[in-house]
Amino acid sequence: MTDLGFPQSQGRNWGHVALRCLLFLLLGLFALFYLMPLFVMVTTSLKSLEEIRTGSLVAFPRDVTFEAWRTAWSGACTGIQCEGLRPYFWNSVILAIPAVLISTLIGALNGYVISQWKFRGANLIFSLMLFGCFIPFQVVLLPMARMLGLMGLAGTIPGLIFVHVIYGIGFTTLFFRNYYVTIPAELVKAAKVDGAGFFRIFWSIFLPLSLPIIVVTVIWQFTQIWNDFLFGVSFSQAGTQPVTVALNNIVNSTTGVKEYNVDMAAAIIAALPTLFVYVVAGNYFIRGLTAGSVKG
């Protein structure tokens, strides 16, 4: 918005400075509020259990130890197995990559059809898909569990990929549709006159245009799928669980001594990929968030 700094008289300048100070104080306090949990997670993960019991929550670690990280990665118990997060982290990776790519590709094609190759009923189909984005997934959990069983995919990673693709299509279609709908219809007409067909136009003209929305969609889908817990906990079994489920199992396992430092290290490990994406491509991340909520 525009500069609201009016030319001020001398007398009001002090008030202005005081207001600015208050503003920065508030902003700083809020920054602390948002950073505090991350800070606590990191410091706790670097402390020994002994230091955690005796020290303060927000104190820096006296003796930095990576023991908790090692345990979290390869030794912590998720129920009866004690292999740490590592296998589950890789489960999440090999689950997220194909699910993200497939749902993005399908979304791109769907968005291309709905925005540029309208046919009677296309808008109805789009509306149906859009409503699908908003259902609470609890309403499909039971039949999906049976369906995966029928397909022989129950408790498998391909089964989870399938679920994420199915319920991701709504959003990816929405993203691409809203992006392509701003491209003038004349572009397709020109290409048709030039002799190009449906796929040629998509491949040569629309896909090269789509880099920003592909990034937004990939980030959105990756964050959604990586952070998913509901599908993971409902449709996986021991050995195929994604990292969020394993993290929850580590934290809530009731056997043995409560190792808070390991919990925190595990939580950070589970959060690292999405945090990394956020730090590297924050603007695209925000665009996905706002595009996912403010349609049109």
């Binding site: 609201l4 019991r53 046919f119 409503f131 609890q138 039971l142 817990f229 808070y260 968030l289």
Partner: protein, 290 residues
């Protein structure tokens, strides 16, 4: 023939997604709805038996707790996130040089899994070693902060973690809204000598009504679906104190083996979501067709 086929390509491309949505969204909703009218227990039983599951549901004290928790959690989560988000957006809108960094800080929780958020806050609010211990260490020996294990207060602990996670997102929405207000209107107001705060309260904020609506829809949607956060933070406990419809449904479906109850609770959840979302989507889609 080939030309006919060429003309059908768009439909052929969209068809699999359309079928998937029909089956996996609408078909599955229908299946769940059907089951919710049966006496299914561990296995589905397709014989319609009327509204018995809904009678059981509304008679169950645990469901009662879950619904009132949803109401308390939903209201507080939405109201606080909106207010905090709006405040942050306005503060950040004052030509702050460090805006980019601050925005990044306020928004990063949205990139985290709710399981991670729950884990972190569970530790922070740990009565023995968390904030309580910290404040006592500063000399306030009688300080007490044990919300996560207090059945009456635990739901508020969930609210804190939820607000921490989602308010930055609301801020981003509002900030985008503030920036999209027509600059000429603001200039005109400045020339008219309208005070700074009045420009916000009388011009900018009212013009953001659609963004308030969007934020409300997204937050309400998050609140109703929130499942991960409760599981990680309190596990629904102490007892059933922080049960939400989502955790109730999950428990019935996967640990209690009572899929009739699971189905009927899922249908009620969907009813709540649709009561909020359908009018919104309807107006959105209609506005677009005009």
């Amino acid at each position: 023939m080939i030309e006919w086929f060429e003309r059908q390509i768009p439909k052929i491309v969209l068809a699999p997604s359309f079928m998937a949505v029909l089956v996996f969204v609408y078909g599955f909703i229908a299946w769940t709805a059907w089951i919710s009218f049966t006496r299914s227990k561990l296995l589905p039983n397709y014989e319609i038996k009327g509204v018995i599951q809904y009678e059981r549901l509304f008679a169950a004290p645990r469901w009662d707790t879950a619904m009132s928790n949803l109401f308390v959690f939903g209201t507080l989560f939405i109201v606080i996130s909106m207010l905090l988000g709006l405040l942050l957006a306005i503060l950040l809108d004052q030509k702050i040089r460090t805006e980019g960094a601050l925005r990044t800080i306020y928004l990063y929780p949205m990139a985290l899994s709710m399981i991670v958020t729950g884990t972190a806050w569970k530790w922070i609010m740990n009565p023995g070693l968390g904030i309580e211990n910290m404040v006592r260490g500063w000399g306030f020996e009688s300080f007490s902060f044990d919300w996560v294990i207090d059945p009456d207060m635990a739901i508020y602990a969930v609210v804190i973690a939820g607000v921490w996670q989602a308010s930055g997102f609301v801020m981003a929405l509002f900030l985008a809204g503030l920036r999209s207000v027509d600059e000429e209107i603001i200039k005109a107001a400045q020339i008219d000598g309208i005070p700074h705060w009045r420009i916000y309260s009388a011009i900018i904020i009212p013009s953001m009504a659609p963004i308030f609506l969007s934020a409300f829809i997204v937050l309400a949607h998050l609140a109703i679906k929130s499942f991960d956060l409760v599981i990680a933070l309190t596990g629904g406990g102490p007892g059933y104190a922080t049960d939400l419809p989502a955790t109730y449904m999950y428990a019935m479906a996967f640990s209690r083996g009572d899929i009739g109850q699971a189905a009927s609770s899922a249908m009620v959840m969907m009813g709540v979501v649709f009561a909020i979302v359908v009018p919104y989507l309807y107006s959105e889609l209609r506005a677009k067709h005009d």
